[in-house]
Symmetry: C2
Subunit: 201 residues, 2 copies
């Protein structure tokens, strides 16, 4: 299934090809590939190079651990994410290590790292589906996540499966066309809401 973005301006093929499926194949992702995905996250930018990102991960080859990560997702995400060969929770350190002060960039920089991981995955033919739908308190309790850290996201990683085998509401989600607002609706200049000269034709 090809869901390459229909772009108004050319972008790198690995950005255009990325999307977030609910259907994952049972085929495992190799340990070598998985390491490279987290290595990609590792080299993301972060405010003061704080690297606030942490991950709690499990593969389906460790069934008890996999079930534990899965249990930290909200139920609608458990419905499909359990078929992915790897699940991860993204956990942010909320304060700077060097001085204990709050890091305003922590959650933003989790996003930078997640995008790097996803880009590396796309380059390797691997799909990533990120979720904000997790239960942070359950993650804290099940993994003894200390104060000052908070689970922010879930991440399903694997090869694309057959969307036609999903329940109807998930199949429709996978098969729907990808849509986005045009640039003039979010790239402003001079004042709020006014399309910037650079995006005017």
């Amino acid at each position: 299934m090809d869901k390459t973005a229909s772009t108004d301006h050319p972008i790198h093929e690995l950005l255009a090809q990325r999307w977030s499926p609910c259907a994952f194949d049972s085929r495992p992702v190799s340990r070598e590939d998985l390491r490279c995905l987290f290595e990609a996250a590792r080299w993301a930018a972060s405010s003061y190079n704080e690297q606030p990102w942490h991950y709690i991960v499990a593969t389906r080859e460790e069934p008890a651990e996999f079930a534990r990560v899965l249990s930290c997702l909200v139920e609608p995400n458990q419905e499909w994410a359990g078929t992915a060969p790897m699940l991860a929770l993204g956990v942010a350190s909320l304060n700077f290590k060097r001085n204990g002060k709050p890091n305003k960039a922590a959650v933003h920089d989790m996003g930078l790292a997640a995008a790097s991981l996803t880009f590396e995955a796309t380059a390797r033919g691997i799909m990533v589906h990120q979720m904000i739908g997790i239960v942070p308190d359950k993650a804290r309790e099940r993994y003894a996540i200390p104060a000052g850290f908070e689970a922010i996201t879930g991440i399903a990683i694997g090869y694309l499966g057959n969307s036609n085998q999903l329940p109807a509401h998930l199949r429709d989600r996978d098969l729907a066309a990808r849509t986005r607002r045009p640039l003039r609706e979010f790239v402003f200049g001079g004042t709020w809401g006014n399309p910037a000269p650079v995006v005017q034709s």
Copy 2:
């Protein structure tokens, strides 16, 4: 100047090559290239496809507008960012358009979009330096940013300049080696702090 990351595991060259300079060249970035950078941001993933990202942008070809964006950065960032040919403020919509409820993923998804923009820039030989050091209230006042939206980041965009012409503290920052914590310090399995099997050698 080559600051390609010294990785423990192979990653895509565009991720390895990316870094955040303080030295920008005065050469402008073409309108075509700039559009493609924001197009890349446009196609990022977001929770419920909310696309919470907005940008207020100005190029140095519009001096008054450029000065206005620059004035919304904290002073230590104004010191170097004023030499970039384009500055942007990243502004998040904090609530879902469809129901007005808070979007927990808004700031995270700003990070996803920023990373896509940066990846596209790297592919085009363009550098990006993101900043959390902005003054959100000043941005709100100067651009009439409405309630429910908040300026989160600054983004400097341009070609690499000569770091040796920077003041010493900025030059040292540009010339320093890139360092990151190893995977075993942030990819956990089973319990917090325990390196996951996938990152054990």
